[in-house]
């Protein structure tokens, strides 16, 4: 095996874990005594949700949904490809996102969820990249505000790959290394 110079992550697994612990503690405090549902959009958000729900010391429930993504020449409009398993009516819903970029997907998801009459609907994102924001959803909990780098790892992908990296890297750095 050829030796390669190690690529320095933008956000190490340790740094991410520390931030998630802090977010979890804050969420546990804010949702004390409430019926909290943490909902994430597959696939990227599952890694963050998995750690965040364990960092929040609450008897919460989790659920997943998936939406179609735009692709070149995609006909039609965005749609739900996997819906939540449970009703969220009268529940306190926290949408857990790996990254909010343009806000287009998130705004669609929030619109869909809002129509189901939850008691409250808030957003927690690990990475908040607002340089290309088009729609401005209210983000209540944010892990890191990130610059305009294409991040991969910890759920973030490029063409479906790299989600499983425990650290978060700049794709550019990874490619240069390869």
């Amino acid at each position: 095996m050829e030796s390669r110079k190690p690529v320095v992550p933008i956000y190490s697994a340790e740094k991410i874990a520390l931030r998630i612990d802090a977010l979890g503690a804050q969420i546990a405090q804010d949702y004390q005594g409430l019926d909290l549902r943490m909902v994430t959009v597959l696939k990227g958000g599952m890694f963050f949700l998995s750690d965040l729900c364990r960092a929040a010391d609450l008897p919460l429930r989790i659920d997943f949904m998936a939406v179609s993504s735009y692709g070149a020449g995609s006909p039609g409009v965005v749609r739900i490809t996997k819906d939540l398993d449970d009703s969220i009516e009268n529940a306190h819903v926290l949408v857990v996102e790996d990254i909010v970029d343009t806000g287009l997907t998130l705004s669609y998801v929030l619109k869909m969820l809002r129509a189901r009459n939850p008691s409250s609907l808030k957003v927690c994102t690990l990475f908040d990249k607002d340089v290309r924001r088009i729609v401005e959803p209210v983000i209540t909990y944010s892990g890191f505000r990130v610059s305009d780098k294409f991040l991969v790892g910890y759920g973030l992908d490029f063409m479906g790959k790299y989600r499983n990296l425990p650290d978060v890297f700049s794709l550019e750095d990874l490619r240069t290394d390869n």
């Binding site: 735009y70 995609s74 965005v78 729609v135 305009d148």
Partner: protein, 143 residues
């Protein structure tokens, strides 16, 4: 036309709201992709609906103006795409700055080549899908 005050001009031409993407003559292939993305996410948009006069001659005739690529009525937001050379970007930046000075109440966002390229990479779209000459020069990575 002559204007003596800063007043945006509605431009109906052949880009009226309600026209489909196929019916609109986009100035650049990247604009068509942007329209498709907005359509996909059910964000209402209009293509170049407004002209903002920027400079006038002594007789009040408009001698320089700017028409942002998109207007998103539900967000009250104008969007300008720049998928071109840095030299032209500088010129466009100057125009956008002037628009903000003359029309402080409007919201306008400029998407630079890198912004847009990275957005497309997120959707797995490569420069080849677009075919715009300037865009093909795009470098690797989301930035």
């Amino acid at each position: 036309m002559s204007f003596t005050m800063t007043q945006p001009i509605s431009q109906s031409a052949d880009n009226e709201p309600g026209r489909s993407i196929e019916q609109i003559k986009f100035a650049h292939p990247s604009e068509r992709i942007a329209a498709e993305i907005l359509e996909f996410y059910q964000i209402r948009w209009e293509y170049e609906p407004t002209v903002f006069p920027l400079e006038w001659d002594g007789n009040g005739n408009v001698v320089a103006s700017f028409s942002p690529d998109f207007y998103l009525p539900d967000l009250d937001l104008y969007i300008e795409l720049t998928t071109m050379s840095q030299k032209l970007v500088t010129k466009k930046n100057r125009k956008v700055r002037r628009v903000r000075e003359l029309y402080p109440d409007i919201n306008i966002k400029i998407f630079y080549q890198r912004d847009f390229r990275n957005l497309l990479m997120k959707y797995g779209i490569t420069p080849e899908h677009i075919g715009g000459g300037e865009f093909i020069e795009a470098e690797n990575g989301r930035g």
